[in-house]
């Protein structure tokens, strides 16, 4: 079963809807056992970093996420929480990716909101069939700095991590569930990953 980790705010149902449109069933849960037994885990992120991390710690979901061996996808705030720390609420995060989340300087409109492309640093299964001219939908005021685990970058105000990958952990700063056919291709790529 595909599991979408439950949060305290926002519309994670849109992730479930997108997964359903691709023909997959999924459940939304914060039950550690169900998350551990999942075939794939999606870790969406909506809301604010420090309250999201508190929510995870209270339920010991931070330990659960770190122990996962199946393909796990962080989306938006999910990606940021998988980094070492976030400037949002000065939060210590999960530390899966060796980088930090910072706030955009107000050198252009913030949040970075709308359709923008990304450039691939590596050609991986996750990015199969995606071109550098394809646009995806971003909405975020914080960004993860680039690091060795960055497999695609986007440039807005500065270059930041758009897609990251480390072992079984994958993450996207944009919203594939809201990124029309390109987003569907990316989600399908993730859902079709071998274990």
């Amino acid at each position: 079963m595909i599991v979408i980790i439950k949060y305290n705010a926002g519309n994670i149902r849109s992730v479930q809807n997108a997964v359903a449109r691709l023909g997959y069933e999924s459940i939304i849960t914060d039950n550690p056992k169900e998350i551990r037994e999942a075939t794939k885990v999606i870790f969406p992120g909506v809301g604010e970093a420090s309250s999201a991390m508190s929510y995870l710690r209270e339920r010991k979901l931070d330990e659960v996420i770190l122990s996962l061996k199946q393909p796990t996808l962080g989306i938006c705030l999910g990606l940021q929480l998988m980094c070492k720390s976030s400037e949002e609420g000065n939060t210590i995060c999960l530390g899966i990716f060796d980088t930090e989340t910072k706030q955009f300087l107000p050198e252009d409109k913030v949040p970075h909101m709308g359709w923008n492309s990304f450039s691939k640093k590596e050609d991986t299964t996750l990015l199969k069939g995606i071109n550098s001219t394809d646009d995806v939908y971003y909405v975020h005021g914080y960004y993860a700095e680039t690091c060795n685990e960055t497999i695609a970058t986007c440039n807005y105000i500065k270059e930041f991590s758009s897609v990251m990958q480390k072992n079984n952990f994958y993450a996207m700063q944009f919203h594939p569930e809201k990124s029309a056919s390109v987003g569907e291709q990316l989600l399908r790529n993730f859902l079709e990953l071998e274990k």
Partner: protein, 250 residues
């Protein structure tokens, strides 16, 4: 590079689109989902649904409509109309809305912007501003443009940004419905003043009006209704024309 967004706006009454549409390829032009799907296929970047009724019974219809839209549509959409509390917004966001738009209720109770931002994050909060020139100054109007508030448009735009709005939907009552072009003057002033995205609305009648608003102002998006509904400017043609003029669109 970040693209300029093209946003069709659908007015909803009792779960159906109103103002009429004329697409030959849509069986039921009053069905918001049919119309929304057509716009997604055409390359619309976002959709805005404005509920123009406010009875309790219609709100329930709206919620179930939003649930259906969220199931079917794979681009972001905003829902506005009749939202005056965090509970109203929560019901829509739970149903799957990506953003909510507030207008009169924000002027009446600016704290609502703060409350929505704290509960959901500023990216969920669109503040719609209806502006009209009065003695040469932009003034904010509410209640469907019938009531002149004490706020000057620039002052209110800055205020909503500071309170935590993630985006401003700026409709010029001077240009709305004229098809004579967006109100460049106020759109330029507001979009240069605030550091959040501004959606220009009101007056689009030709492709060149979009070119104009994207080259002469800092607007992040252009919104229109009837020119899209009546097929006067198909979105694919609009986007091709903008690309030809070096305006970045998806």
């Amino acid at each position: 590079m970040l693209k300029k967004r093209i946003i069709p706006c659908l007015d909803i009454k009792n779960g159906r689109t109103v103002k009429g549409v004329n697409f030959v390829d849509i069986k039921d032009a009053g069905d918001p989902i049919e119309l929304a799907k057509k716009y997604v296929k055409d390359g619309a970047d976002e959709l805005i649904f404005l509920d123009i009724t406010a009875t309790l019974e219609d709100r329930k219809t709206l919620i179930s409509l939003v649930e259906k839209i969220a199931e079917e549509i794979n681009i972001p959409f905003t829902v506005g109309g009749g939202i005056s509390s965090v509970e109203d917004a929560l019901a829509l966001i739970k149903a799957g809305a990506d953003k909510v738009s507030i207008n009169s209720s924000a002027v009446k109770n600016p704290q609502l912007i703060v409350d929505l931002k704290e509960r959901f994050g500023s990216q969920f909060v669109v503040v719609a501003i209806d502006t009209k020139s009065v003695d040469g100054r932009g003034k904010v109007f509410t209640k469907g443009g019938t009531y002149e508030t004490r706020w000057e448009t620039l002052q209110w735009a800055k205020e909503v940004e500071e309170l935590g709005a993630g985006e401003i939907l700026l409709t010029s009552m001077n240009s709305d419905g004229t098809k004579g072009g967006f109100d460049i003057d106020i759109t330029k002033k507001v979009s240069e003043l605030v550091n959040i995205p501004v959606i220009a609305s009101g007056g689009a009648g030709k492709v060149k009006h979009f070119e104009e608003v994207f080259t002469k102002t800092q607007a992040s998006a252009g919104l229109a209704a009837s020119i899209f509904h009546f097929g006067e400017i198909p979105i694919p043609r609009l986007k091709e024309a903008l690309k030809t003029n070096n305006i970045l669109v998806r």
